[in-house]
């Protein structure tokens, strides 16, 4: 006889959130989703529930009851992804697992005895979900529909359950209520024909009843497993020599590359796992800057790490998994094997990162700011999602011809000469200039006197008022050329009488090539 277990995670969203945030449990948090008329409450913490917040209510209404509620956007996709992961994990109880809304259903036919009977199975499921911090409600019944009804509505019997346990759409449920057919039992007493005539198509009550009783089969289909690309070798004898991992790697990489090729993927993160005879594992991971499935490159990245794996009592299996892979079509740079710029650089970055550590290899990233020292920043070279601060502004630009007064805003600051070399820290210099705002004539930097032959400017850059204290002073930058033809970028900080300090100071900030 078929037995289906239905697992319902009634508190999934809030428990998932609670796990990932470090919020105190007594804080009244509600998770919200966008509704057509403003934010709707998706899930609530117990303390928020005490204050009157209920899922489905509008945030503004709940706030009217208690203004101290803290609203956090719900991560609906993250929750769905979690359920998917849980479905794979639930393979421990049954090979046939299906995601079912905010829950799972498992075909547990003939499985229960392994867990000491159905009661034991239910206990085991509850316990293991509880260990993950998730409340699970479990019921086992001969059909999926019945198991669902019992897990969601409780009890042992189907007949006294409310008709909404049939998973009909709300309008149908309301009509049934209005007709006085409020429980499954009441519905069963009505002649099938009468029901069939009145509830057709998608809201067919008869179909729902048949699914419940098993008259209409509803077989489970296993979730299409989409495991990460993986290559596995098992050794006949446990290998204890240190080269075992390297040797295994040499066989694993081509296997994995074939798998990646087949699926048109390129690896971004790889892990090599050695399974020891005593059941423990040793693992090493590397990441790449761009998706890759080039055997030589991957091998080189992993080789050092592989040597470091300690066999202890011996490995009896190795697995190489592309934990994170991205789409990568078939590509050929050139007819002859020639190094290509971008890929070579990426490979270099990968190798340096493997050797030096991910935090130590960085690359500059343009940042839209008028302040020269903020116009670029450093980010991790293999950072997966390049944090691009100017993105939003660029978006605005892309929306169409900008309506700015000064024409479309420049992507780079056109016509604004920036020195090739910017000093890490502007250095104070002495300048002779015509006060208050005249051109500089001569400056002294590192004890050398420079007579200024040509000068252009000033370019006035005001402090970023939203970041700096109000005492920050503006800068007037000048491009100057001294008598020897060397060019410098100097600036005067402040104006006389700007009320933000005494006399202005001069600095040198860059050198032109």
């Amino acid at each position: 006889m078929t037995r289906i277990a239905s697992i319902w995670l009634p508190q999934l969203a809030i428990e998932h959130w609670a796990k990932t945030s470090d919020c105190a449990p007594e804080v009244p948090v509600v998770l919200t989703v966008e509704g057509t008329h403003g934010l709707l409450i998706h899930a609530v913490t117990p303390s928020a529930a005490e204050r009157g917040a209920r899922p489905g209510a509008r945030l503004t209404d709940a706030r009217a009851l208690d203004p101290s509620l803290i609203a956090v956007p719900a991560d609906v996709e993250g929750d769905a992804a979690l359920v998917k992961r849980l479905a794979r994990w639930a393979g421990r109880w049954s090979p046939l697992v299906e995601v079912d809304g905010d829950g799972l259903r498992l075909d547990v036919t003939g499985v229960a005895h392994l867990f000491g009977g159905e009661a034991g199975l239910v206990r085991d499921i509850r316990k293991r979900f509880a260990a993950l911090g998730l409340t699970a409600r479990v019921a086992i019944a001969p059909t999926a529909a019945a198991a669902w009804a019992l897990s969601h509505f409780g009890g042992e019997e189907l007949a006294p359950l409310h008709v909404s346990a049939l998973r009909l759409d709300p309008d149908t449920v309301r009509t049934l209520e209005r007709l006085g057919l409020k429980t499954i039992g009441a519905l069963m007493d009505v002649p099938r024909l009468a029901l069939a005539r009145r509830f057709r198509g998608a809201d067919s009550v008869v179909d729902a009843l048949d699914r419940l009783s098993g008259r209409k089969p509803e077989p489970l289909t296993a979730a299409p497993a989409d495991p990460p690309p993986r290559a596995l070798i098992k050794l006949e004898e446990p290998a204890t020599h240190p080269e075992a991992a390297t040797q295994a790697l040499e066989r694993l990489v081509p296997m994995l590359v074939r798998e990646l090729e087949r699926r048109h993927l390129g690896a971004r993160r790889l892990s090599l796992t050695g399974y020891r005879v005593d059941g423990s594992v040793a693992a090493a991971a590397v990441a790449t800057a761009i998706p890759s499935r080039e055997p030589r490159h991957l091998l080189r990245l992993l080789a050092d790490k592989a040597t470091a794996l300690n066999p202890e009592f011996g490995f009896d299996a190795f697995a190489l998994t592309a934990e994170w892979a991205e789409q990568l079509g078939a590509a050929q740079d050139s007819l002859v094997e020639e190094p290509s710029g971008e890929r070579e650089l990426a490979r270099l970055v990968d190798r340096l990162t493997v050797k030096l550590g991910p935090g130590r290899v960085r690359r500059p990233q343009p940042h839209e700011s008028h302040l020269p020292e903020r116009a670029s920043e450093w980010i991790s070279a293999i950072s997966s999602s390049p944090r691009f601060r100017g993105k939003v502004a660029r978006e605005a630009r892309r929306r169409g011809p900008s309506t700015s007064f000064a024409g479309p805003p420049p992507l780079q600051m056109q016509g604004r000469m920036r020195p090739q070399r910017l000093l890490d820290r502007p250095e104070a210099i002495d300048v002779i200039y015509a006060t208050p705002e005249g051109m500089p004539r001569r400056f002294v930097w590192r004890r050398a006197v420079h007579d200024i032959a040509r000068v252009e400017g000033p370019e006035r850059i005001a402090p970023e008022w939203w970041r700096s204290p109000s005492s920050a002073r503006l800068r007037d930058y000048y491009r100057v050329e001294d008598a020897e033809g060397r060019r410098y970028w100097i600036y005067r900080e402040g104006l006389i009488g700007d009320g933000r300090g005494g006399l202005p100071n001069w600095f040198i900030h860059g050198l032109f090539g």
Binding site: L179, G390, V392, F405, A406, E456, W466
Partner: protein
């Protein structure tokens, strides 16, 4: 950081300490000025720009907003006040060529510029303007242009050549020194480019704000415009704060190498000879027949109307007044205005069926308007309005607003467009300003605050006027106001408040002209189809002396017209607004009891409480009633003194000045009618004029300050002035302060006496209808929904309490609208939620029906509509209750409505041999379902089913409240109908609950509210333990709540289904909606029904 917000519609006036108007022309004139009407670009308003210019020694200043002239009137008036010469122009951003500044040289050039902008706006969506160089070339005559270089000078060089070809008169290229580093090289290059094309460069500072400290605000509006945060805005922002108005000598210094660029500005400015003062307003001519002057025709119509109004001869009093008003109209030349209004009103009256309308406004309550049929307030019976007429010395334009039935106003609007043409009729604009909430939200977003924090800031900090409360609420919401980032955000938001955000159309202010309107002001498309509106708002129009007519919509007029029609049909009497019998004592008796549900204006709970205290006995009492229960008088604490004086508990005295300062009856003349208490807006103004000796200019300023929603900044100086001067003249400081407080309150909520009188007339008419024809009145109200204060359930309940028998919706008896059946009220199909009008019309057309099936086969009513009808229990006339009808209706098959299918009735499932037996539906469930489908139930009140439970616990019913002595404790329970937390009540919450016997009014003091907020705001069925309080002057009974309980769960005993909310539309907390779908989670918590049915 900059000071608090500056934007406000305050007319600039010369004050002491202001620099004198310039006597010598300045060497430089700024022409590239953007005001906030270059929306989200300019960050300083006209007054700030003009005052700065004045201080810097400018004698003239230009204004060039982007593709618009909407800011020019403000600039004009500010300049005129300061003694500067405004140069009116605009900036044209073209689709296919570099931008241009366009300054008309004379009136004709202005007309063309206005036409050009209209052209661009009419072909684009609302708020946009699409123009090409070709369009500009066609309208170029009489306009001086300045080419505006773009960032890329190579492109500009080519563009300038094209500009020159298209616009041979173009002679200038703008050049700016903006501290960009390469300014000198850039200006040199521009100079060369310009010379090559035979032009000269012209200096401008591309002014975006009046002073450098406005840069943060300008950056913020840039971010709002580009929808980015300040952190991410990057190069969208300007690198420095140089785009402010710079003094002429600074500009001369910056352009020392290019003196011709400076002198060009002077020459350019001197070549412009246009002023907005030249726009002469001309009334449309078609209102006057050939061969008569407007005045002659107006007098003819007036006397003709008078003869019709008083067939037995015009009363002396009216005669006298007409003989005063008509010459005055002639002197001020307003005859055409009256004729224009008359024409529109006549059109509405002569339609078949006619549209009901009534005028209001300062000029509306004149005898002339009564004779012309514009108003229905009889000047013979009310002697109040003599001096309310147009004031001659102030030369204020007359103001007549006409209210029309809200369902049919569009016909009037389209008539105006048709009659005068779209080029001669336009709706005034309304300038949408940033309000505190929108300002904090948008600034918060820019500053990177989360949606949530912005919301919290908006709702807690800005919700009230009380700063202490604000701080407390901020704490409650977990906001740290000392955080510098938050502080900065709030300061910027404060600055943003009042800044124009976009133009929208006024609700109904029309301007009509004889010449094409487009030559006076640009016209653009509205958001609604078939609407066009001009670029100026009503203040601008007034500033220029252009007259407007407000064509407004009023729901009560729709209701009254429907009542008149019903009465004519069922009682054979034809009434009109002006013919309703006046001063019927029974009508006042009814009002004195606070029995006014559904009556215009006086139906709110506050008004209902006031009626028994005020005890209106004549029309003028109603005028006061309408005006007094408004936040203005309440805030000014005018209500209690008035009541005390009226009931004789306090002598009527008039504060008076010291004898040496003025006559002792100075105020008696102003306040005599209202027993010495200022109640109306005009009285407050008159006090300012007479008692505080305001000049008419100052009074005008006060009036404007009152009219702006946010007048904190300016009103303080006015306060000092008014209170100070009154005290100086010997008035009691207390009284002076109260007068001023009241003026402050009037800002948003005041009522002028003339408006109050017009409204009072509708109050009287609707009260009379309610008293004489309660069934027709309820029917009219229901058929005009949504309007007013109450939900259909309360209207029906009230009608039944007045012995109107109400019959339920039925497929065989109900029309779409509610109808009268032998004196009984039959609810209409419109009451059924979600029923389509079309389906209802089909249903009505083929009546009667004998079975559910017939509705589809013979009536052709769609199945889903039949199911809705069944759910609403509308099949009783065939002997089917809800459940049976629903069961039958479910069996219908939705077949295409074609003859071929109409008779293919054979069931594909075979025939039903054994009928199903459904359990009978308990009454309580019927009631809940009635509420769900028609929002009311005639079968029973939900509380009736719970009465046994409550009676056992010694709860009283609402009808017994009057038998309980003052101060006694009691418990009462009922459905929550209305929750209100008026701003003027200092945190007190008023709740109306209803049980099967009536309603009870709860008062919840702030301490109880604080402790039981959740229940107060959330409960749908509320149990209250409290104290009865009888008002000594009236029969009003309150229950002062001490402890509240949320008994909403009790509603589950009626039915497993959710009882819908009974809150009316006006519930201040927002409608409490039951979730559409009950989540399975909730099911478990429903207690099993036990002892109640």
């Amino acid at each position: 950081m900059p000071e608090k917000s500056a934007f406000s519609r305050v007319k600039l006036v010369r004050r002491e300490g202001m620099p004198p108007p310039p006597t010598t022309p300045s060497s430089y004139v700024e022409l590239g000025v953007a005001s906030p009407f270059s929306f989200l670009r300019g960050a300083s308003d006209a007054n700030e720009l003009v005052l700065t210019a004045l201080g810097q020694g400018y004698d003239a200043i230009g204004i060039a907003d982007r593709n618009t002239l909407s800011g020019v009137v403000r600039m004009h008036s500010a300049c005129t006040a300061a003694g500067l010469r405004p140069l009116i122009g605009c900036r044209l951003d073209l689709q296919d060529a570099p931008s241009l500044l366009a300054y008309p040289c004379h009136r004709e050039g202005y007309g063309r510029l206005s036409r050009l902008l209209s052209l661009g706006k009419m072909r684009a969506d609302k708020g946009e303007c699409e123009l090409t160089l070709g369009d500009v070339a066609e309208h170029a005559e009489g306009i001086a242009f300045i080419a505006w270089p773009e960032e890329n000078l190579d492109a500009f060089e080519a563009g300038l050549a094209r500009l020159r070809t298209a616009l041979p008169s173009l002679g200038h290229v703008a050049a700016s020194w903006l501290y960009r580093g390469d300014d000198a090289a850039r200006i040199e290059r521009l100079d060369r480019i310009a010379k090559k094309q035979g032009c000269t460069i012209l200096a401008t500072n591309d002014v975006h704000y009046h002073a450098p400290d406005r840069r943060p605000l300008q950056d913020v509006v840039t971010c709002i415009r580009e929808k980015v945060t300040i952190e991410a805005a990057g190069y969208l922002l300007n690198p420095n704060a140089e785009r402010h108005l710079k003094a002429p000598e600074v500009m001369v210094h910056l352009f020392a190498r290019w003196p011709h660029a400076i002198s060009a500005t002077r020459k350019f400015a001197d070549s412009l000879h246009f002023s907005l003062d030249e726009l002469r307003y001309e009334y449309p001519k078609e209102t006057v027949p050939e061969g008569r002057t407007p005045q002659q025709y107006l007098e003819h119509l007036t006397w003709k109307g008078a003869a019709e109004r008083w067939p037995d001869g015009v009363p002396d009093k009216v005669l006298k007044q007409l003989n005063y008003e008509l010459p005055l109209i002639e002197r001020l030349d307003f005859a055409r205005y009256f004729l224009t209004v008359h024409d529109i009103v006549k059109f509405a009256r002569e339609l078949d069926p006619p549209i009901l309308c009534q005028g209001r406004g300062s000029a509306a309550n004149s005898a002339v308007c009564y004779c012309l049929g514009i108003t229905a307030v009889d000047p013979a019976t009310s002697d109040l309005l003599f001096e309310r007429f147009i004031s001659e010395e102030r030369r204020e334009p007359p103001d007549i607003d006409v209210d029309f039935e809200h369902e049919r106003r569009e016909e009037v609007i389209q008539h105006i467009y048709k009659k005068y043409g779209r080029d001669r009729a336009g709706i005034a604009a309304t300038i949408i300003h940033y309000r505190p909430r929108s300002a904090i939200r948008e600034v918060g977003k820019v500053m990177g605050l989360s949606e949530d924090v912005c919301g919290a800031l908006a709702s807690t900090i800005w919700g009230s006027m009380d700063p202490e409360l604000e701080e407390e609420r901020a704490k409650e919401a977990g906001l740290d106001l000392s955080d510098p980032h938050l502080k900065r955000t709030i300061r910027l938001a404060e600055q943003l408040i009042g800044m124009p955000r976009h133009l929208s159309q006024h609700v109904g202010g029309f301007i009509l002209t004889e010449r094409p309107l487009t030559e006076t002001v640009p016209i653009g498309n509205g958001a609604m189809d078939d609407r066009t509106f001009i670029e100026w708002d009503k203040d601008d129009i007034e500033e220029l002396g252009i007259l407007k007519i407000d064509v407004l919509a009023l729901g009560m007029l729709t209701c009254i017209r429907k009542c008149f029609d019903l009465i004519a049909e069922h009682h054979g009497e034809r009434w009109e607004l002006a013919t309703v019998p006046q001063e019927v004592p029974e009508v006042y008796d009814m009002l004195c009891q606070g029995d006014s549900l559904g009556v215009f204006q006086v139906e709110s709970r506050a008004q209902m409480n006031m009626l028994p205290r005020l005890r209106p006995r004549c029309f003028y009492d109603l005028v006061i009633e309408v005006a007094i229960v408004r936040p203005g008088p309440i805030q000014g604490d005018m209500v209690h003194p008035y009541l005390k004086r009226r009931s004789g508990k306090e002598p009527v005295t008039f504060p008076c000045p010291d004898p040496e300062h003025g006559p002792p009856d100075e105020l008696e003349r102003i306040l005599g009618r209202t027993l010495g208490v200022p109640i109306f807006q005009e009285q407050a103004m008159k006090i300012a004029l007479d008692a505080a000796r305001f000049s008419s200019e100052e009074a005008n300023q006060l009036r404007k300050a009152m009219a702006t929603f946010r007048s904190r900044g300016n009103i303080e100086s006015l306060q000092d002035k008014m209170v100070g001067r009154m005290v100086e003249r010997g008035y009691d400081p207390d009284f002076a302060q109260r007068c001023f407080d009241q003026i402050k309150g009037f800002g948003e909520y005041g009522f002028p006496e003339s408006h109050a009188a017009s409204f009072a007339h509708l109050v009287y008419v609707s009260s009379w209808l309610r008293w004489k024809y309660p069934a027709a009145f309820a029917c009219g109200l229901l058929n005009s929904q949504p309007m007013g204060f109450y939900a259909p359930a309360q209207i029906v309940r009230d009608a039944r309490e007045h012995n109107v028998s109400v019959r339920e919706v039925d497929v065989n008896c109900s029309d779409w609208d509610c109808t009268l059946e032998q004196g009984a009220l039959r609810l209409g199909l419109r009451q059924i939620d979600g029923l389509q009008r079309e389906a209802a019309d089909r249903l009505v057309a083929r009546r009667p029906y004998r079975s559910v099936e017939e509705l589809r086969t013979r009536g052709g009513v769609p199945v889903h509509a039949i199911q809705r009808l069944a759910a609403a229990d509308a099949f009783r006339s065939m002997g089917l209750d809800r459940r049976a009808a629903l069961w039958d209706s479910r069996a219908l098959k939705q077949a295409p409505d074609l003859p071929l299918f109409m008779y293919s009735e054979e069931r594909d499932e075979g025939s039903e041999d054994q009928p199903a037996t459904l359990p009978a539906m308990p009454l309580s469930e019927h009631v809940v379902n009635d509420y769900q489908t028609v929002r009311l139930s005639l079968k029973a009140h939900p509380m009736a089913f719970l009465r046994e439970h409550y009676a056992g616990r010694k709860f009283v019913t609402a009808d017994r409240l009057k038998t309980i002595r003052d101060g006694r404790r009691l418990s009462i329970a009922g459905l929550v109908l209305i929750r209100q937390r008026p701003g003027s009540a200092k945190g007190v919450v008023f709740i109306t609950i209803e049980d099967e016997t009536g309603v009870a009014n709860l008062v919840i003091w702030p301490d109880v509210f604080g402790k039981q907020r959740k229940i107060v705001m959330g409960a749908r069925l509320m149990a209250v333990h409290g104290i009865v309080q009888h008002d000594e002057d009236s029969d009003v009974i309150h229950v002062i709540a001490q402890r509240l309980e949320d008994h909403s769960h009790m509603l589950r005993h009626l039915s497993d289904e959710t009882m819908p909310s009974t809150l009316s539309q006006s519930d201040a907390a927002g409608s409490w909606r039951a979730p559409a779908q009950r989540h399975p989670r909730d099911v478990e918590i429903i207690p099993k029904s036990r002892d109640f049915h």
